[in-house]
C-alpha cells in the first residue's frame, strides 16, 4: 500500500507508541493525592514541560485537550465568551474563508446561537490571508472584535499563512489571536512566543502521537470560558480526568517531531517535489494548487481538469494508493472544497482536486506507485465524467 494521506493521520512514532504502552500499564489519576496519583501527575507535568519547551511556550500555557477540534472550539467559543463577558460590545469574530470546519463551524455556531457577527477574511489565489485585510477589518471594527482566528497552515492546499504578521496586526488592536497549527507543528518551525499569537491548537495524531489528545496553548493573559465543566483540571479551563498515557505519548511525539523538523522537511519536501514534477510530466494539464513556496513540505494538491476527485480516489484506492479529495462530510458526500472556492476556483476545478500528503514513513517507491497508477486513473476518470453506456 502507498499511504499518501498523512494530513488525515500519520502513523505513530515508535517512541510515542512505546511511551504510551509503558504509561498505560500504570494506574493513577493525576488528580489523586496518593503515590499512584502523584506518579501520574509527574508524568503529565513532565509532558507539559516537554510540549512547552518544544513549542516555545511556558508550561502554564499548555492546556491538554481531547484533540484539535476541542482545542479549536475552546479557543473560538471560550475566548469569545470570556471577552464578551468583560465587554458586551465585543461580539464580532474574525476568521478566514479557508479554515478547517473545526473553526468555521464553531464560528457559525456562535453566529447562530450567540448572536456573533462574523467577518471571514478573503484569501488570494494561493489561499493566503493578507495582513492588510485583517488591518482594514480591525481598523473598522477592532473595538467590537472578540477574537481573531486564522490557521497556521492549510490542511487542504498546504499554504502556510503569514501568522506572525497577522498576529502583530491583532496585537496592535489588542485583540486575541488564535491559530490552528494542527498541520504546521513538526512540518514547519512553530514557536508560540515568537509568533506573537495568543492561542494555538496542536493535536497528536498529525505528528506521530495518538488520536484523541492534543493541546491548546493559551497565553496567560487571555481568558477562555470552559466548554467542559467538572473537576477543574487544566487551570479550570478544561475539566476531565487527564489521559496520562495519551498525554505522555503526545508530548514525546511533539518533542520528537519538532526536534526532527528540519531534517524531516528537507527529506519529505524533496520527495514531494519529485512527485509534483512527475505528475506534471504525466498529466501536463494538471493544476497545482496552493502556494508553490510557502507550503507544507509533505503537501501536493492538484486539480485534474475534466475529472472528478472522488472517481480518482476510488480508482487509486483500488490500486492500493491512499489519498484524499481533501474534504468529506459525515454522510461521505463530497462537497466542492470551500478552500478552493475561496481561492477563486470554480465548482469543476474544486471537484476535480486530489490531495497527496507525505509524511515520516514516506518512501520513493510510494511516489513511484502514484506515478505508475495516476495517468490511467486520470484517463478513466475523465471518460467517466461524461460516459453513457449504450442502450
Amino acid at each position: 500500500m502507498a499511504y499518501l494521506d498523512h494530513a488525515a493521520t500519520t502513523p505513530m512514532l515508535d517512541e510515542a507508541l512505546e511511551a504510551y504502552v509503558a504509561t498505560a500499564r500504570e494506574v493513577g489519576n493525576a488528580s489523586s493525592l496518593h503515590a499512584a496519583g502523584r506518579r501520574a501527575r509527574r508524568r503529565v507535568e513532565e509532558s507539559r514541560e516537554r510540549v512547552a519547551a518544544a513549542l516555545g511556550a511556558r508550561p502554564s500555557e499548555v492546556i491538554f485537550t481531547g484533540g484539535g477540534t476541542e482545542s479549536d472550539n475552546l479557543a473560538v467559543k471560550g475566548v469569545f465568551w470570556a471577552r464578551r463577558a468583560v465587554d458586551g460590545r465585543r461580539t464580532r469574530v474574525v476568521s478566514s474563508a479557508v479554515e478547517h470546519h473545526a473553526v468555521l463551524d464553531a464560528v457559525d455556531w456562535l453566529a447562530a446561537h450567540e448572536g456573533a457577527e462574523v467577518a471571514l477574511l478573503p484569501v488570494d489565489a494561493a489561499g493566503r490571508v493578507g495582513p492588510d485585510q485583517l488591518r482594514a477589518e480591525l481598523d473598522a471594527h477592532g473595538d467590537r472584535v472578540a477574537v481573531v482566528t486564522t490557521m497556521w497552515a492549510n490542511n487542504e492546499v498546504g499554504t502556510v499563512q503569514p501568522v506572525a504578521a497577522l498576529a502583530a496586526v491583532a496585537a496592535e488592536h489588542g485583540v486575541p489571536f488564535h491559530t490552528d497549527a494542527i498541520q504546521a507543528v513538526g512540518q514547519v518551525p512553530v514557536d508560540f512566543a515568537a509568533s506573537g499569537v495568543s492561542a494555538l491548537t496542536v493535536t497528536g495524531h498529525k505528528l506521530g502521537g495518538p488520536a484523541g489528545v492534543g493541546a491548546l496553548l493559551l497565553a496567560r493573559d487571555v481568558a477562555a470560558t470552559p466548554l467542559l465543566h467538572g473537576g477543574g483540571q487544566e487551570r479550570d479551563v478544561r475539566s476531565g480526568t487527564l489521559d496520562t498515557a495519551g498525554i505522555v505519548a503526545f508530548a514525546v511525539a511533539v518533542e520528537t517531531a519538532v526536534k526532527r523538523q528540519q531534517e524531516y522537511a528537507a527529506r519529505v519536501a524533496a520527495l514531494r517535489d519529485d512527485l509534483v514534477e512527475r505528475v506534471r510530466q504525466a498529466v501536463p494539464e494538471v493544476v497545482f494548487n496552493g502556494d508553490p513556496v510557502d507550503r507544507l513540505p509533505g503537501n501536493a494538491h492538484f486539480s485534474f481538469p475534466g475529472c472528478e476527485g472522488d472517481a480518482l480516489l476510488l480508482l487509486l484506492d483500488a490500486q492500493g494508493i491512499a489519498c484524499s479529495t481533501g474534504s468529506a462530510c459525515s454522510a461521505g458526500v463530497a462537497q466542492p472544497s470551500h478552500v478552493l472556492i475561496a481561492m477563486g476556483a470554480d465548482d469543476d476545478r474544486a471537484r476535480s482536486s486530489l490531495r497527496f500528503t507525505l509524511g515520516h514513513t514516506s518512501t520513493p517507491s510510494e511516489v513511484d506507485a502514484v506515478i505508475k497508477a495516476l495517468p490511467g486513473a486520470v484517463d478513466r476518470a475523465r471518460r467517466a465524467a461524461n460516459y453513457r453506456t449504450p442502450r
Partner: protein, 357 residues
Amino acid sequence: MRVLAAMSGGVDSAVAAARAVEAGHDVTGVHLALARNPQTYRTGARGCCTLEDSRDARRAADVIGIPFYVWDMADRFHADVVDDFVAEYAAGRTPNPCLRCNEKIKFAAVLDRAVALGFDAVVTGHHARLGPDGLLRRSVDLAKDQSYVLAVLTREQLDRSMFPLGDSTKAQVREEAARRGLAVADKPDSHDICFIADGDTRGFLAQRLGETPGDVVDVTTGAVVGTHAGAYAYTVGQRRGLHLDRPAPDGRPRYVLSITPKTNTVTVGPAEALEVSHVRADRPVWTGGPRPDASVECEVQLRAHGDVVPATVTVAADGLRAELRRPVRGVAAGQAIVAYRPDPAGDVVLGSATIAA
C-alpha cells in the same frame, strides 16, 4: 469480474454484496445519496436515503470487507425521479418511482459511471432472478418479487446487472445476514416512497402543485357530487378520502374512475365501472428478447404486487395493446404493464410498457 454493489443500507443489498464477493468477484460498495438534504427524507429504520442508512451500508461493507463510497446522485434523482413523479401526477397519471429509479438512476446513471470507471456490472439486492440465459424471472419468493420494477430494463442494462438474491426467500436472506454478522439482519423492510418523509403523498404533491379545487363528477348521472383540492391527488381505483357530499343513489361505494387534468375533474363511479378489458401502453421495452412479431399469449401484471391476468398482447409500432382474459379493476395510466411468460423455473419477463389508457 469487477462489480459495483449498490448498497442502500438494508439487508438485501448487504447480502447481495456478500454473495458477489463469495462468488469470486472483485466488489466495491456504493451508497447512493439521493436526498438533497438527507434529514428531509425518512428517518429511522424505515426507508432509504438517511444518514443512518448510509452508515448501515458502510458498516455492512466493512464487515464484508469491501471498499465503500458514497455517490451523490441527488440532482439526477430529483430531475429523473422526483420531478417526474410530480409531473406524472399533474398529468393525471400514477407513476411508479421505484421503477423510474431503476430505469434512470441505478441501472443508468450509476451503471454508466461504474462501467466508465472499469466495472463490469452493478449488483443489487432486488428479489428477481437473472440467470446465465440472460432472462429476467420472478424471485422464488413471490411475496417479495421485484421483477415488476425491473421489467423496464433493456437487454443492455440487464447484461450488466447481477441479482444474487433471486433464488432465496426474504427469510433466508435475513438468516444469512445474521450468520454473516451483518447488523442489518433485523432491519425492517422499507415501504412506501423514500422521498416522501411522512408517507403523505397527497400533502407532498399539494406542496409542489398547489391547491387547485375542482369538481368530483359521478359517471352515471353526470352530477357534481363533491369537490377536491387538486385532481392530481387521486389515483384510479381509489375509494378512500373522496369526501363526497352526496351518497350514490344505490348506496354503494364509489371509486375514482379517471382524472382529467384539463378540466381538473375527478370522475367517480361504481366498482364495476372500473373494470377494464383492454389496455393500451406505450414506450415498450422488450426485456426478454427481440420485439415479438405479432401477438403473444402471456400473463400481464398491471401494478406492483397486483394480480396476474392471462392476456393476448399485440405489438404495434408505437406500443402495444393487451386484451385481458378477464376484466381488471383499478388500472391506472402511468403504471407499467409487465408481460410474463409462465415458466416452472420462474415466470420470465418478456417486456413492459407504460399504460396509456
